[in-house]
Every structure is written in structure tokens, then in C-alpha cells.
Symmetry: C2
Subunit: 176 residues, 2 copies
Amino acid sequence: MAMSVPLPQKDGRMSEKNKQQGLVTEGCESEEFQRLALDSHLCFAIYKANHAFNRFYKPLMKELGITYPQYITLLALLEKDGQRVSDLGETLFLESNTLTPLLKRLEEMGLVKRKRSAKDERQVIISLTAQGRALGQGICEVQRCAVDGLEMSMDDVQHLVRELNRVQEMLVKAGR
Amino acid sequence: MAMSVPLPQKDGRMSEKNKQQGLVTEGCESEEFQRLALDSHLCFAIYKANHAFNRFYKPLMKELGITYPQYITLLALLEKDGQRVSDLGETLFLESNTLTPLLKRLEEMGLVKRKRSAKDERQVIISLTAQGRALGQGICEVQRCAVDGLEMSMDDVQHLVRELNRVQEMLVKAGR
DNA sequence: AGCGATTAAATCGTTTGCGATATAAATACG
DNA sequence: CGTATTTATATCGCAAACGATTTAATCGCT
């Protein structure tokens, strides 16, 4: 989600009431506040873009009978099949507490198989069924819609992806 | 408690089919696949960055005793107090089904008041309590941490925000 | 004024996300 | 060996997101 939220305001000024109520921390008119505000916008911009992807994909997902996280999970499996739950978790930044129920639903839908590894009975290997792989074709359709809708050059998209990954890595690094 | 026997624990041998199971969907080597892959990368990069912001803020939020969505809601109220539920929803891209329970929790914590409008009994006006406003002081601290962690120039951030907003707008436009 | 349509919030059911904990298998070590 | 520790997954409980529906108040139209 996001930080300081750019409210849809008619006039961008703070009301007198807000000012005297101390609703805004002192020193937020400073130059540093500009950076803080920008950060807020970045955070919120990412939240909004993610939300927009969610909403955009949802009706297309619905036709395929899956949800957005399920779609992301299938994408990860399309790239590399036969992963362990923890591998998927590393890719998707999720853990078994989230993935196990999700994968069980995908299994019930007949899209993936869940099977204990023979070498290490603790591990569960997730692999796509024929049906799950077939759904991948539909996913390519979905993506075609998305790409057409975006109307961005490949270079622009590539640059954007790099910047986002940079932000993500910095946040991970800073969070330790 | 037993693991609810989700999977056979003892006879689990990996089939040959599983071992050799292919990793890439057929027919995705084309030039078009490049674009499709990029799209999924963009979608995934936004997903990752959003997760990273979430994880980064969580420990800071915990010190304030609130969750991330609650924090954002308070931020929106700090910028403009006394909003209706639907105003908050417009800002945050949420609706009453999500906001009502969240606001009730904030009310129980003594951070906001919920009051039916006298003019229109359908509307509920949300306003910060003194305690809720006081919590706003800690919020600038949180933002400062975020900015320091990012280590990005204002120009880079600004450009990224513009690109993300562009993507968001295009997705909204394309989704109709 | 009367009544159907619209609007705002709340409620319900399902999925997701996550911290904390439990369970079972594998590993380390004494 | 056998037992303590670690590892992988699963379970539990709560918060959140959201589609669908409900309830109550207001609006619009005749």
C-alpha cells in the first residue's frame, strides 16, 4: 500500500483549521519534506499501479476461473515447473502459510499436482498438470491484452522494470 | 496435530515424468514472446516492489501499534480530517466493505471517531481523535526512514512515479 | 405527497497475507 | 546409534481485499 496519500484536492493548500489543529507535523514545509512527499508518491504510485494491474487482470482471470495470486503462481510454474513450495515462496515472496492453501485450491481445480519428494519427505514438489499448462495458453492471451493496452515501447517497459527492481532491492537492503 | 494427511508421506516417489518435466511453455520463443515476457516482468516487478514497501514499513508500523492499511488511512485523515467513508474509499481505492471493519478497529483503539452526518444520515464522518492526531507525529519519522533507505535522487523518484502513474492510467483506460 | 430509483454504509462469504506455532522428516553431534 | 537441532510444510487466528447482497436514507419524477 502507500504512504502519504495525494488527496484529490481542489486547492492544494492546507486548510486553516488543519494548520491550527496541528494536523501537519512542523517542518514539513522544508526542503526535506519535498523528498518525504515524493517518497509518499512513489509508494502510493506503486500501490496504485499494482491495484490497477489487479483490476485489469481480474475480469480476464475470472474467465479462466482463477484469481490474481493464483495467476502469478502459475506464471512462476510456467517459467520453472516442478519447484518446491519454498522455491515458489522465494520467487513470490510468500511462505507456506500463504502458499499451501493457495496451492491446495489449484490442486482441487486440477491445475497443479502436489507431491512429496522421494529424496526428502519434508519437501512438496509442485508441478503443472496438462490442464494447468493448457491454462498457460490462456494466460498468453491475457498478456496479449495487457500489452496491447499498455501502449508503451519495449524500451520504456524495460527501463521501468529495472527501476522498480532497483527500488525493491533497496527496500530489502534497507529493511535489514 | 497431524498434518491432516494432505499428501502421502511415505510412498511419495517422484515419477520420471515429474523429474524430466519441461520448464517452458511451447511456442513462446517467438518475438511476441519477448513482449509477453516483458509484460509479465512489469506486472511482477510492480508486485515485488509493492511487497517490498509492505515489508519495509511493517516493523515501523508495529512500533506504532497499527497495521499498514490503518497507517495509510490515518495518513489520509491527517491530510484531510472529517471525511466520509466513501471519500476515504475514493482516495485509497477501497470501499465500505473493506473500510468499515478497519475504521471500527481504529475507533476501538481510540484513534478515530465515527459519526453519522446530521445532514445525511446515510453518511458516516470519520475524524481523528487527539490520540489519533498524536500518532501522526510518529508518521514523519517513518517516512524519514523510508527516504533514507531508498537512496535515490529526487529526479529518479519523480521519473519513476510518472512512469508508474502512466502505466496505472493506461491500465485503467484499457480496462474499460 | 407517494413511490421507485439511487446512494452510503454495513454485512456476508471467500481468498489472500502473515505472525506464531505445530508437526514431521532430516541432520548434527555426543 | 539415539537424541537435540534444524528444516520444510502445514495449521491457526486475525486483518485485509473484494464481489455480492442488504439496509436505510435520500432523491427524482409524476
